[in-house]
């Protein structure tokens, strides 16, 4: 638009393509539901019309909401997420069947997960309707910062805090339990984005140059040290290795993106190494995780979970056992923390890679939104949300496949867990909102005219 005759790009809305992909995603979800029944006991599950209908209805509802409230938003994100969520729901249902057949006291989980999914999609629509411009969030930078802090502290408070499975990351309110760390993730991304937009000039000041890398000045290290101490605090008081890693990684990456200085990565890496060493020497549970990673077979009783998960992946092979024909229910928490290994067993390497690729595409779209976004806050927010998503997938998939020590984050959209599914739907809504703002054609700029210009009072 630099000169009036230049050609300009008008991104297409591609809502039709979105609908097509969405239908394909629903075919995958509902088809796998039927396949589980066929593979498990030779008949299509009785709930195929009701459950399939509910899922199709909310997914199409989300599509209509995007059409109505974010017409220019990215066309691929929603179908990708719907496909993942569908596969997750079916996998949880499949493990319910397995647990039931084995007479296990656990479960069923699928119904609750479907309820949470519906609620998540409703909140997705709610965010699209309520937040019409993501830049409004910047006004509440410090409110979100405070909110994140409160959410992080909640689980260690005496009455509502609730320790389950060795980690103090839950709060219990009556019959509901909630993982505030998931919500804190979004609040922190908003806070970091707003904070770094305001302060990045100061943080980008060059300090000493060592080996071709600009290291920051000592006095600018304050924020990263605070972030590091907070992460260590989560590790110490909540014994939650995953969240600790996620928050620190998120902060370092956003700092790097905001200042364009690789020095922050170097500093962050050193702090991370120090933190890992500290965790390893000081805490038994961190050391257990490390040992289970290096040699799970040294103590098969304690590392039963990861060993069964690895055997599950091996059992799946290249093409998998087929829906309903493996035995993923043997792995403890095969429906939540270890859902990726369950998928690897039933769908094989081919299905596992497809799922990872879907995650990869979601991350690619997120970073693309950040690249094309014009305002700094939106850019950083998109990067933050995407990076937290990517880190989470890496940590979970790496942990399950024994690439890195296991840390206990949930696989977004797949794993059973209400807080995780709801918050991830909100993340997608925010990304779509930013993308809608970015791809929307800029309003025509009118030159100043004598008639319609606001009058300047001559004094």
């Amino acid at each position: 638009m630099s000169s009036p005759l230049n050609p300009v790009w008008i991104p297409r809305k591609r809502r039709g393509a979105e609908l097509g992909l969405l239908v394909l995603a629903l075919v995958i979800g509902i088809g796998s539901y039927a396949a589980v029944g066929l593979g498990f006991n030779g008949q299509v599950p009785s709930g195929i019309y009701t459950v399939g209908g509910i899922y199709a209805l909310v997914a199409l509802g989300a599509h209509v909401a995007v059409r109505r409230f974010a017409a220019y938003a990215d066309p691929v994100l929603l179908p990708l997420v719907v496909a993942l969520n569908g596969i997750g729901l079916v996998m949880i249902y499949r493990i319910d069947l397995g647990l039931d057949a084995a007479g296990s006291p656990f479960g069923p989980f699928a119904q609750g997960q479907l309820r949470w999914t519906v609620l998540g999609i409703l909140l997705f629509v709610g965010v699209l309707v309520l937040i019409r411009d993501h830049r409004r969030l910047q006004q509440y930078t410090y409110t979100f910062g405070l909110g994140a802090l409160v959410l992080l502290v909640l689980p260690i408070l005496p009455v509502i805090g609730n320790a389950k499975r060795g980690a103090q990351i839950w709060i219990q309110l009556g019959p509901f339990s909630f993982q505030p760390a998931e919500a804190a993730k979004i609040a922190l991304a908003i806070f970091f984005a707003g904070y770094l937009v305001a302060k990045r000039d100061a943080l980008a000041l060059a300090g000493r140059r060592v080996l071709g890398v600009d290291l920051p000045r000592g006095r600018d290290l304050g924020p990263i040290l605070v972030g590091w101490l907070a992460s260590i605090g989560i590790l110490v008081f909540q014994r939650d290795l995953g969240s600790s890693l996620l928050f620190f990684g998120l902060f370092v990456v956003m700092l790097y993106v905001a200042t364009e200085r690789p020095g922050w990565i170097v500093v962050g890496g050193l702090l991370f190494a120090a933190g890992s060493w500290f965790g390893y020497t000081a805490f038994g549970h961190v050391r257990d995780r490390f040992d289970a990673w290096l040699d799970p077979w040294a103590d098969p009783d304690r590392n039963y979970q990861i060993i069964t998960a690895l055997y599950g992946l091996g059992h799946g092979g290249l093409l998998g056992r087929g829906w309903g024909q493996g035995s993923p229910e043997i792995t403890p928490f095969g429906f939540s923390d270890f859902i990726l290994s369950s998928i690897g067993e039933e769908l094989g390497l081919a299905g596992f890679m497809a799922v990872l690729l879907i995650y990869g595409l979601i991350v690619e779209r997120g970073l693309r939104i950040a690249l094309t976004c014009r305002d700094a806050f939106g850019k950083l927010l998109a990067v933050g949300l995407t990076v937290s998503f990517a880190l989470q997938v890496f940590v979970v998939a790496g942990g399950v496949t024994r690439l890195i020590p296991l840390t206990g984050l949930t696989a977004p959209f797949l794993a059973a867990g209400g807080s995780s599914i709801i918050m991830n739907w909100i993340v997608v809504a925010l990304l779509l909102r930013i993308s809608d703002q970015t791809r929307r054609p800029t309003p025509a700029v009118a030159a100043i005219g004598v008639d319609d210009a606001t009058q300047v009072v001559k004094l």
Partner: protein, 154 residues
């Protein structure tokens, strides 16, 4: 359910799953290359006239203050952003009571210049539209900050 049917279901499901992934990729691909390239509709009268009269093509070289207390001053454009405001770190210190300390910024992406409001009290206007996000400005477009009007000149 025979073994064969189950195998077919298994393979069929994987095929559909990969079909989904690949069609998502192809939508992304068309999204990169397939953007409609259109010519912008004929813009409003005054702009082309100004452009023609001053015979301006190509990149602007100066930022000129056209009206207001600092009228007549100008600053050469480089690659970096240019800050306008009453503060000491501004490229031109505007003696305008209606201008904020850090009021607005002109920045370029190498091809065109954008004006971005930095959260000023009284706002930055192009015509009667308040600038809320970086807006591309071309040569001769008047941008108003407080009582000051600036333009990009060649």
């Amino acid at each position: 359910m025979s073994e064969l049917t189950l195998t077919l279901i298994k393979l069929g499901f994987l095929a559909v799953l990969w079909l989904f992934v690949l069609s998502a990729v192809s939508v992304i691909r068309t999204d990169i290359f397939g953007k409609k390239i259109t010519t912008q509709d004929k813009p409003r009268e005054p702009k082309p006239r100004k452009v023609k009269r001053r015979r301006m093509r190509g990149a602007p070289t100066t930022l000129q203050i056209v009206d207001g207390p600092n009228a007549g001053q100008s600053v050469p454009l480089g690659d970096g952003p240019i800050l306008l405001g009453r503060g000491t770190d501004a490229a031109i210190r505007l003696d305008d009571d209606y201008v904020s300390t850090r009021h607005a910024r002109f920045a370029t992406n190498g091809e065109q210049w954008f004006v971005e409001d930095l959260g000023s009290t009284n706002g930055t206007y192009i015509g009667n539209q308040r600038v809320t996000s970086p807006v591309p400005v071309s040569i001769g477009t008047s941008v108003r900050l407080g009582k000051t009007i600036v333009e990009l000149r060649k």
